[in-house]
């Protein structure tokens, strides 16, 4: 799973978001490292909607501008959990290797 997709699903796991709030939320979640552009966001949203990970969750008009909200589906939550588990396992393996390296240096 690519990082922008992971960040979008993570943002949606906290609750429904519209397009602009997804841009700001993903930037916050990545600590400013990932700054999605609107074009990339909607290309990704199209794809993950097609895959059934995300669905429409209502719309409203604010200051004359249409806002459509998106929400995570159960499939999306499962996919996010699988990816988080995979990343956790990889991070654990890396920490273990570093511990071995440190212990080897101390020995």
């Amino acid at each position: 799973m690519r990082e922008p997709t992971f960040l979008i699903l993570t943002a949606l796991a906290r609750g429904r978001h519209h397009g602009y709030s997804l841009l700001t939320e993903t930037k916050k979640l990545s600590g400013g490292r990932v700054s999605l552009k609107p074009g990339s966001l909607y290309t990704t949203l199209d794809r993950i909607q097609e895959e059934g990970l995300v669905e429409d969750a209502g719309e409203e008009v604010v200051a004359g501008r249409l806002r459509r909200y998106y929400a995570l589906t159960d499939n999306g939550a499962d996919a996010l959990k699988r990816e988080a588990d995979r990343m956790e396992a990889a991070a654990d393996a890396a920490r273990q290797s570093l511990r071995v390296r440190t212990n080897g240096a101390l020995a």
């Binding site: 841009l23 794809r47 097609e50």
Partner: protein, 327 residues
């Protein structure tokens, strides 16, 4: 016209890069996001990189209408497997073969440094792109794949104009151009299944084809580039191109068309496959084992019918889990 109205008008014009259906569904909300982003950055007009990005993503949305991303990813996987496998075969048999095969090119034939022909550049770039993809370096892989396609085009022109001592058939570069573009059309390792198929399939296929082609060529390198024998660069490239085109068409077929695609395209693969393996047999002078073309015709036809049925019926296979007691 006020500045905000002018900016909105410019964004609306830029959004025409997206298909009409997409604009009807997302146009107004997307426009709202663009205006919100511009307001957040304190801008009064769109930037050039922004307009370029919209043009690019609009084009992607148009392509997705015709070819959904799942189909493109499958086609990209076919491109990655076939391009990498073929590059491995041609590197071993054609390029570095002169270091270990009998009847090889030597220095008076003016080989290309440690290799034999400039086509080695394309093969190395293709294999390096595969390696970058396997290592998770997506951007590096894309750059290397693009370089491979560019090198294929450039070398076709260059070798066509000059008269190299060891010729490389233009069809070789055509195959790598096609497989390179197919690989770039999607993400060949987007899903875990595609990832396993590509990362295991490409080297396995490369090794298998290298071994069978090595047997057919009798171990001689001089028969590979432009040789009149059964397995040479031109024939291998032609068979590979046929298989890649058939496989890509099958991958691109939507659910409704897929049964018919299986019924027609899979039996057609017997033609290049039978040609590819024909040389494994019938040559009693060098005593190799024969695989008659009829074997491929029958096998591919049966596989085609079974696949068509599976694509039509889409049976769900389920197996008893460890916790359940079989009936």
């Amino acid at each position: 016209m006020s500045e905000s109205a002018a900016m909105e008008e410019r964004y609306r014009r830029a959004l025409r890069a997206y298909p009409a259906g997409w604009r009807a569904r997302h146009g107004e909300e997307f426009l709202g996001v663009l205006l919100d982003v511009a307001a957040g950055e304190g801008r009064g007009k769109p930037t050039r990189p922004e307009l370029l990005q919209l043009a690019l993503h609009g084009t992607v949305a148009r392509v997705n209408q015709v070819l959904p991303s799942r189909s493109r990813d499958r086609m990209a996987a076919i491109g990655a497997i076939s391009g990498t496998a073929l590059a491995l075969v041609m590197m071993v048999l054609g390029e570095v073969g002169r270091w270990f095969r009998w009847n090889s090119y030597n220095l008076v034939d003016n080989p290309f440094g440690a290799f034999t022909t400039p086509a080695a550049i394309v093969f190395i770039l293709t294999v390096a792109a595969f390696g970058a993809r396997a290592a998770g370096r997506r951007t590096t892989a894309i750059v290397l794949q693009l370089a491979s396609v560019a090198a294929s085009i450039a070398l076709t022109v260059f070798l066509g104009v000059t008269d190299p001592p060891i010729p490389v058939h233009p069809l070789v570069f055509a195959v790598f151009g096609v497989t390179g573009l197919l690989t770039l059309s999607g993400d060949p390792i987007r899903t875990p299944v595609l990832r396993k198929v590509v990362l295991i399939g490409a080297p396995v296929l490369g090794v298998f084809l290298t071994l069978t082609s090595y047997l057919q060529g009798g171990g001689a390198q001089r028969t590979f580039w432009g040789g009149p024998y059964l397995i040479n660069d031109q024939r291998l490239a032609w068979w590979a191109l046929e298989l890649v085109v058939l496989a890509a068409l099958l991958a691109a077929a939507g659910p409704k068309v897929r049964p018919w695609a299986c019924l027609v395209l899979i039996p057609l693969t017997s033609l290049p496959l039978s040609g590819m393996f024909l040389g494994l047999g019938g040559n009693t002078a060098i005593g190799l084992i024969g695989i008659q073309p009829g074997v491929f015709y029958v096998t591919c036809s049966v596989v085609g019918v079974v696949s068509a049925w599976a694509a039509w019926k889409r049976p769900v296979l389920s197996f008893a889990g460890r916790g359940t007691t079989p009936a």
